[in-house]
Amino acid sequence: MSGAAKSPRFHANPSASLDPRRIKRDFPVFERNPGLVFLDSAASAQKPAAVIDTVAEYYRTDYANVHRGVYRLSARSTDLFEQARARVQRFLNAADEREIIFVRGATEGINLVANSWGAKNLGPGDEVLLTELEHHANIVPWQLLRERTGLKLVPAPIDASGGLDMAAFERLLGPRTKLVAVTQLANATGALVPVETIARLAHARGVPVLVDGCQAAPRIPVDVQALQCDFYVFSGHKTYGPTGIGVLWGRKALLDDMPPWQGGGDMILSVSFENTIFQEPPHRFEAGTPHISGAIGLARALDYIEDLGREAIAEHEAALTGYGVDRLGRMQGVRLVAAGQRRLGILSFEVEGIHPHDVATVLDQHNVAVRAGHHCAQPLLDKLNLPATTRASLGVYNDESDIDALAAAIEAAQAMFSR
């Protein structure tokens, strides 16, 4: 349960290049909710005015359905939608914009891979190797596919420090492993997973790798070509964009060979009652009218992130995480949940003698918004023997004063419960 001692020491002063006080002014929610200490960005990030305005402006000025109309308004809408795809391509440094598939979120992206690539390529006894750090979204889709195909789910364990046990992972990567599906940053604890190493090990055995980038994409630079993975998913709403939009990136050679998973309009070349010819990727996987405004809003959010600078964001979050580990680590009766050697952006903790739900309620009364519960990672919490934790998670708008407010609110909870 320690974790504090193992975390790297960071300089007390977070990044000089990011100014959270100025950034906070970009987010209207802080103006509308004075005093709000928002520490739940891992659940969903707040939205900058630029994103909100872009979505509103699109509906006011450029809205029509895409890929259909011959009229200019529809052509303009289609252009904006496809430009958003190109924007995501640059964000991930994907080789080809046709590798970018718009989905509802990371959950749908993983379900797409399971139902399309998985249903085609995985059979009885084939193993999907994941980790104990996974979010339910990277467990349940494979369990549903298991019922149809007889595949086997193999979870690689965490070690005593709370990080992925790489030696165990290597041992479990065996002749029956047909897919590796791993998170890049554990949402429940903040543990960073060495996905580059994992991809190298898996590829040496010809095994493709899916990376759940939900928590990593808003926090660290992501280059899917450098990562050498095969599928990468993330959610728009965690990257300061709208809800209901997310991205599946897939290597083109794999996507070309994948059957559609949902049928409908927009994903076909021609339809007769006898036969239907499907579109090429990405449109093959985007049946029906897509979330056009979501994609356009997401593109603006990615602009916002890159304007701040992704290295600068990563440095800021690392410095602030270090500050939080130190600050909470020094508190009596507060135990940080172990997160391995490298923790980023997420501080999961227990307050001795107070249930996480009670902690979160008292924190809320002090205007500190955190999450309490199992964080959609029940297998991990079972492993850690915790029914629930309290989780504070960081965004670009947070600074040391937010951590100080968190610490003060925890102390208030302790005072109240010890009376």
Partner: protein, 156 residues
């Protein structure tokens, strides 16, 4: 500390949360049920021993937050010795008090017991916490329906 905190976490709630009464299994329950709040991981098992139409003994085990533990503890205190009809009236009254619903008419002989449950009424300002306060009661109701084999109720 804000005034709100004390309204929700009254002394009696902290007391019952820390030292729950009737916190044990019954050796020979005629009825039992498990309550589970998957959202927060809270679990409670409610045990009943009925003597005809009367609750001869009632107890609980489990783990949960201060609200759910205190609620289960207070519930066992007021239900012991009651008839099933009285228990149902108390549940209706309790439910109304924690959800901000209209309070049903309470027979005079139950007014004191109803009063004992009112410290939990503070949760009505915290919609996310209402399920914590009602978990044990739902398990009590499920126990009556399922008998000694036990059922599981979930709140989400």
């Amino acid at each position: 500390m804000t005034i709100d905190s004390r309204e929700l976490y009254q002394d009696i709630i902290l007391d019952h949360g820390r030292r729950p009464r009737n916190f044990r299994a019954l050796a020979h329950p005629s009825h039992l049920a498990h309550g589970h709040n998957p959202l927060c991981g809270d679990r409670v098992t409610v045990y009943l021993e009925l003597d005809g139409n009367r609750i001869k003994d009632v107890s609980f085990e489990g783990r949960g937050c201060a609200i759910s533990t205190a609620s289960a503890s207070l519930m066992t205190e007021v239900l012991k010795g009651k008839t099933l009809a009285e228990a149902e009236a108390l549940f209706r009254g309790f439910h109304a008090s924690v959800t901000g619903g209209e309070m049903p008419a309470m027979p005079p002989e139950l007014e004191d017991d109803m009063e004992r449950l009112l410290p939990l009424a503070g949760v009505k300002s915290y919609p996310a916490r209402v399920k914590c306060a009602t978990l044990a009661w739902w398990a009590f109701e499920a126990a009556l329906k399922s008998g000694a084999t036990g059922a599981t109720v979930k709140t989400e």
